[in-house]
């Protein structure tokens, strides 16, 4: 690392003093002079500088005069030193900077009127500011535009070689997809090796380009920046909750831009620990579904086996009649509700309130049940905190990070950038334990490949290794000697050698990982889909908690056990009580105090304790005929769950199926009523991201067609069913939540709650831990040789992203099974050859393609696509404690067809 502040949080840099424009300024030693000047509030133009990476020093604009030097110096690459006397203003400096602008402009095409960056161009601003009106010796480049990439166009005629794109890609995102290449007498930015750009397509290069050299294919030549309305909102794709600007023109979404931009270049490097402001491919290029032609614009009602368009009023009348009829005929418990975690907090709150207060049932669940619930319940049980204890800053500044079953560059790309920063800036040791060759493993200091489905055994082994090597933190363990003894005896029958055989991880590796984790001052475990979405997720999270506890990492600042969420508001869904076990604020449904509070606030009597059903139970009851009416808000269980769950049969048995969604989903096609809902771009509200930060969602455009925000539909439905709800806007709902859950919004900054395991360790721990570490049975004998995994792709999120043509262009559904090239060679398969995949559930014929990220012995199919229906090969294992269905892995045999 070059001239940036000493970024080791443990070391405080020495303070120096220097003089800037006659004023004495104190600064940290080793800092770039430019940063020191920027900190005083003075702005010196600089076109190649951005605070997120090291100064590059190519533009020659940041000139200052240093006493004792004849010529101006570039302040960005100069190091601030004690006793410097600096002058930042003056005629001579102005002329020197003007000369630099002229130098850039003389090889820049003067095509501003047709350039997309017109009005948002630093070179244009600089030329105006410095009064450049006449150019002698202007020279034109004649470089063809590189339009090979699916999302970005490179017009190198306009490039000023500031290298911001290259630096952000290499230094911040660690993807390193761009490089300089001398072509046609000019230094040009090209994709690595001058091949078509093939990267993660996060578009951060586009964001930092100060001119129009890199352009967005989606908005090319459409509008000028001043014609577009810019709305700050929160991304709707994953739990990272990135802030972004949705740029719209009337009813059309033009593009998405990020807070990371050349305009936003001044800052302190240490601020990036909280996020660098960039976006990922989904956020930046996956906006096209918002104004898609396929959006539902009118309510649909089933009439004679067909969905017919009906006006809202008639639909609502029919719907309410049916719903009240079912309620009076079969009782409130014959009605259930499923809600997606892509809704805002306000809507999730209203949905559970409608179900509990309006209908009177506790049959309610959200898509957090697909995995996040495992973490929430385990964490709540063990340490009393139902969310991640650490935020992005903790993750960035951690010294050791263990990623178990976490392909975070694909699932949560911006959380992955935080891990990358931990590696790059703070020199953290990163251990990855995954059954795929993930992108983060390529950057990790300790990448380990484990056998599929053995994440739990790895944790067993790690706990054992910590105890064997006596890496336990005596102080924390000393507080609960009984609990520790119980744990010790529980892991006594775990053998590292056996774990090594089963997981494929050498014994030495177990010991090394345990040592790294235990000995670092700040250690973080991230257990994502490989833990929470797989069998025994609840137990495995508890085991990780054990590991953190005995090493003294539970409750210590900067340490903790974390997860990531797949959908933007899974945390909010849990916090708002859209689950049968929780009331809002994660109060237990059977907690008499909380019940009393909400019953009074809502002026009803809550459904009885013990009633209610989670997702799988609801579907089971639908099939069994106990539930007659199901209200599905944004969920799509038919396309998500494998055929063995018999979702279709369950839904077809219903007397009333209501689906509320922006699109006509597979589940919607079975429904009796389909209500057109708005996307997040058309409504106000908040999302709670994985850190627990409450982030605002703002309305960017009017609802499309006759679609209506979800909260509006819910309010209308509740009032028609006899409630007295007077919500006029999302703000009114927020006011109610604020009253009931004081401090939940807290200006978007979650309260830091230290996880405390004491309560759990002294009560009931000893009894529970006994069964947790079952001696590993040699179940390695599989009749089928391959492990079929289903998971997320970087460019997709759930099924929603498949509605965005841009993302489909980047990552189309190839319909092929991804395999390791060696396995393909062994089976004698060419790319595209047909194979027959057989599992216990059935068999399927499909093509294969080689994929570098797939480990030998495994094959992969993205969970976003059901064509061919690979998900139907899966069996579903339902966690007995949490009811989380796991259906992402199965053993299959693959034969050439």
């Amino acid at each position: 690392m070059g001239l940036k502040p000493a970024t080791n949080p443990d070391v405080e840099a020495a303070t120096i003093e220097l003089s800037i424009d006659g004023k004495s300024v104190t600064a940290k030693d080793g800092v770039s002079l430019y940063d020191v000047i920027a900190m005083t509030g003075k702005i010196i133009p600089a076109m190649c500088y951005h605070y997120t990476f090291d100064p590059f020093g190519s533009c020659g604009m940041c000139l200052v005069m240093q006493e004792g030097k004849k010529a101006p110096v570039r302040s960005c690459t100069a190091k601030a030193a004690a006793g410097m006397v600096i002058r930042t203003e003056g005629e001579d400096l102005f002329l020197a900077r003007k000369k630099a602008v002229e130098k850039h402009l003389s090889v820049h095409p003067l095509d501003c009127p047709v350039c997309d960056a017109d009005g948002h161009c630093e070179l244009q601003d600089m030329a105006f500011q410095h009064g450049v009106t006449n150019l002698a010796n202007a020279k034109q480049k004649f470089i063809p535009e590189d339009t090979r990439s699916p999302v970005l166009d490179f017009n190198m005629n306009r490039c000023i070689a500031c290298a911001e794109c290259i630096n952000v890609c290499k230094d911040v995102l660690m993807i390193d997809a761009l490089q300089f290449m001398k072509k046609g007498g000019f230094n040009q930015v090209v994709a690595k090796g001058d091949l078509p750009l093939n990267c993660e397509f996060c578009g951060d290069c586009l964001a930092v380009c100060p001119v129009g050299a890199i352009t967005n294919k989606f908005s090319k030549y459409l509008y000028k920046p001043w014609q577009i309305k810019k709305t700050t909102t929160t991304c709707n794709y994953c739990g990272d909750g990135c802030q972004m600007y949705l740029e719209t023109k009337d009813e059309e979404v033009v593009r998405v831009t990020s807070p990371l931009s050349w305009k936003n270049k001044w800052g302190d490097r240490s601020e990036t620990a909280k996020g660098h402001g960039g976006l990922c491919v989904r956020g930046r290029f996956g906006f096209e579904y918002l104004d898609s032609q396929d959006r539902l614009t009118q309510p649909l009602v089933r009439e004679g086996g067909q969905l017919v368009r009906k006006p809202w009023l008639e639909t609502m009348h029919l719907l309410v009649d049916r719903l009240t009829e079912i309620k009076s005929k079969y009782g409130a418990d014959a009605i259930g509700g499923l809600v997606t975690a892509r809704c805002t907090n306000e809507e999730l709150y209203l949905f559970q309130k409608l179900m509990r207060a309006g209908v009177g049932t506790n049959n309610i669940d959200s898509s957090a049940r697909y995995g996040h619930m495992n973490f929430v319940l385990a964490s709540k049980h063990a340490v009393g905190l139902g969310r991640m204890p650490n935020d992005w800053e903790d993750l960035t500044k951690a010294k050791a990070i263990i990623l178990i079953g976490s392909n975070i560059t694909e699932t949560n790309p911006l959380t992955a950038v935080r891990v990358k920063e931990a590696v790059r800036v703070y020199k953290a040791q990163v251990v990855t334990l995954d059954s795929a060759i993930t992108n983060i493993a390529k950057l990790a200091s300790h990448p380990f490949l484990i056998k599929p489905g053995t994440e739990g055994m790895v944790i067993d082994g790690l706990v054992k290794a910590v105890i064997d090597q006596d890496l336990v933190d005596e102080e924390t363990v000393g507080k609960h000697p009984k609990a520790f003894e119980a744990l010790k005896s529980a892991v006594a029958n775990v053998s590292l050698e056996q774990a090594s055989v089963l997981t494929g991880l050498p014994v030495a590796a177990f010991k090394e990982i345990a040592a790294i984790f235990a000995e670092s001052p700040r250690s973080i475990v991230l257990c994502a889909e490989g833990i929470v979405r797989r069998p025994n997720g609840y137990q495995n999270v508890l085991k990780v908690m054990d590991l953190a506890w005995i090493t003294g990492k539970l409750g210590r600042a900067g340490c903790g056990v974390n997860t990531v969420t797949e959908e933007p508001n899974e945390q909010g869904a849990v916090d708002m009580g859209a689950a049968p076990e929780f009331l809002p604020g994660q109060a237990r449904f059977d907690d008499p105090g909380a019940r009393e509070r909400f019953a009074t606030a809502w002026d009803i009597s809550l459904p009885p304790v013990g009633s209610g059903a989670h997702l799988i139970e609801i579907l089971k009851r639908c099939k069994g005929g106990q539930i007659k009416a199901l209200y599905i808000l944004g969920e799509n269980p038919l396309a998500t769950l494998p055929a063995s769950m018999e979702v279709r049969a369950a839904l077809e048995r219903l007397e009333l199926l209501v689906v509320q969604d922006p699109f006509l989903t597979d589940t919607g096609k079975l429904a009796h009523f389909v209500l057109p809902a708005c996307t997040y771009a058309e409504k106000d509200g908040t999302f709670t991201n994985l850190e627990g930060r409450v982030l605002r969602v703002r309305q960017a455009m009017d609802p499309l067609g006759e679609s209506v925000p979800d909260w509006h539909i819910l309010t209308a439905l509740a009032n028609a069913m006899g409630c007295q709800w007077e919500y006029q806007s999302a703000n009114d709902i927020q006011a109610e939540i604020m009253k009931l859950l004081p401090g939940y919004y807290n200006l978007g900054q979650p309260r830091k709650i230290a996880p405390v395991p004491d309560q759990y360790l002294s009560n009931g721990y000893t009894a529970e831990v006994k069964g947790r570490y079952q001696p590993i049975s040699p179940s390695g004998e599989h009749t089928r040789p391959f492990s079929l995994l289903m998971g997320q792709l970087l460019a997709h999120s759930g099924k929603m992203s498949t509605q965005a043509p841009g993302l489909i262009k980047i990552a189309p559904n190839t319909g092929k099974l991804r395999m390791n090239i060696r396995d393909m060679e062994r089976l004698g398969l060419q790319d595209g050859a047909k194979v027959r995949v057989t599992s216990d559930r059935g068999s399927l014929q499909l093509g294969v393609q080689p994929d570098q990220s797939i480990a030998p012995g495994t094959c992969f199919f993205p969970e976003h696509f059901n064509e061919p229906p690979v998900k139907d090969l899966m069996t579903v294992l339902v966690d007995t404690t949490t009811g989380v269905p796991s259906f992402k892995q199965i053993w299959v045999s693959v034969e050439p067809a």
């Binding site: 003067l110 095509d111 047709v114 017109d118 004649f142 063809p144 535009e145 005629n157 030549y221």
Partner: protein, 195 residues
Amino acid sequence: MSVAALTKKILHAALFYEIWDAMKVTFRHMLHRPMTFQYPREQRTIPDTHRGALGLLRYDDGQERCVGCDLCEVACPSHCIKVISAEDTTRPLQRYASEFYIDITKCVFCGYCVEACPVNALAMTKMYEYSTHDKRSLLFDKKRLYDIGERHLEDGKKYLYAHNQEKDVEQSREYRYYFPQSVQKSTQSPPKHLS
């Protein structure tokens, strides 16, 4: 009343003096050239700087001048212009207006759009007769604007010369801006006016 005054009065009355006095003006005007002219049979000569209906111009080779830059839209004080631009797929890098609308009923004929145009694609013509029974036809679209520009090409050019925006035909492609030419291959030589 004196005798002389009375005599004068009687004489004036007998000779209809007032009438002759009044008719003097009329008869004098018979010798003047008429101030008015017989519109529409006769038409007034209009100066080159006249700000009439707007038209879009083409180059001599028939290519559209407009690059769809939206600057006229921004300059327009009455918001009567709407440009929708796109990339010409046959000539990479060339931006053009796929649609162009001027609501001439809103236009205040200030000429700002012409001034803003970086390629002198817009010009004001001497055409001012476009009354119609159908108000909707006064929303000029791209085709209509090019028709006007074609029919009144000479007037449009004269307008631009008169307003010092363009000097002569040779110079019509040299502007304040150098637009990128459509580069198909890297070995292509630069066009004449830019070399």
